[in-house]
Symmetry: C2
Subunit: 148 residues, 2 copies
Amino acid sequence: MKPTDTTTYRALNTYTKLMRAAESVTSRVGRNMAAADLTISQFGVLEALLHKGPLCQRDIAAKILKSTGNITLVIDNLEKRGLVRRERINEDRRYLTIQLTDHGLELIHEVFARVEAAIVAEMKVLTHDEQETLGTLCKKLGLREGRG
Amino acid sequence: MKPTDTTTYRALNTYTKLMRAAESVTSRVGRNMAAADLTISQFGVLEALLHKGPLCQRDIAAKILKSTGNITLVIDNLEKRGLVRRERINEDRRYLTIQLTDHGLELIHEVFARVEAAIVAEMKVLTHDEQETLGTLCKKLGLREGRG
DNA sequence: GTCATATTGTTTAATATTAAACTATATGAT
DNA sequence: ATCATATAGTTTAATATTAAACAATATGAC
């Protein structure tokens, strides 16, 4: 093999493993969301509101990497279930502030705890040092322009 | 912070970075598929056929981690574009063998080369050793039961 | 003030995805 | 041979997602 070939081979291999790991972990962790009848996106929205407080839809879209059109629907569905509330802001009436309701807060609190536990369990196959290393390497890949 | 807290914190942090890296890289690499009017799933199917030869739909579904129902549609669309061909097997008439057409082979050959180059470019932010390390750590996370 | 431009959120149309019900075929026990 | 079970693929209904067009509101130049 020429050096280029081994370089390519290594890159493809690493890429594949990264993707598989992400899919695999997402799928297992996601079961805890599905158990509470939350999609990954719905969980993402509620989790953002839990940890950042009330947000407008645009900020939510940016946070969970989805289109604003999609967020409209996700919030619609959460609103129907009484988990969040929309509130028009008077200083700038284009904005809507999305807030957790009491029920929403209670639910995401509980589901987040389970998800958190699942993530900790997933990561337990790695030592602390390995986790730090993985985080550092992933961060290098994540940084860069472009959606995502 | 109690030890449990730092453990949890580290796990969540690592998880987030893993997810961001995967999304980010997928999104950038995926542009090369979109440029040829291929969805990620369509690319996945063609790529599997390119590197593994003819496959039945069930195997394709397993390979790209999608439902068999979805594969039916993906293959339908590829067939409409004349990129693959379905062929009933006579030894067991439940099976369909999916083959690349000449046109399909030509296309995936070209698109795969671009995707490959994109992946190599993505991975260039990591040294060879770092790639090996990332691969090893991801593999530990990926292994386990469960869809994915 | 008025108009051009930006921005927030909504709607629409197209596509993707899944789970579950279904059809057709094969296999194995009796 | 027959029947129960399993398997491959399809269909259907529900949901998710995006891009693009759109409505409402804000901002800034003049």
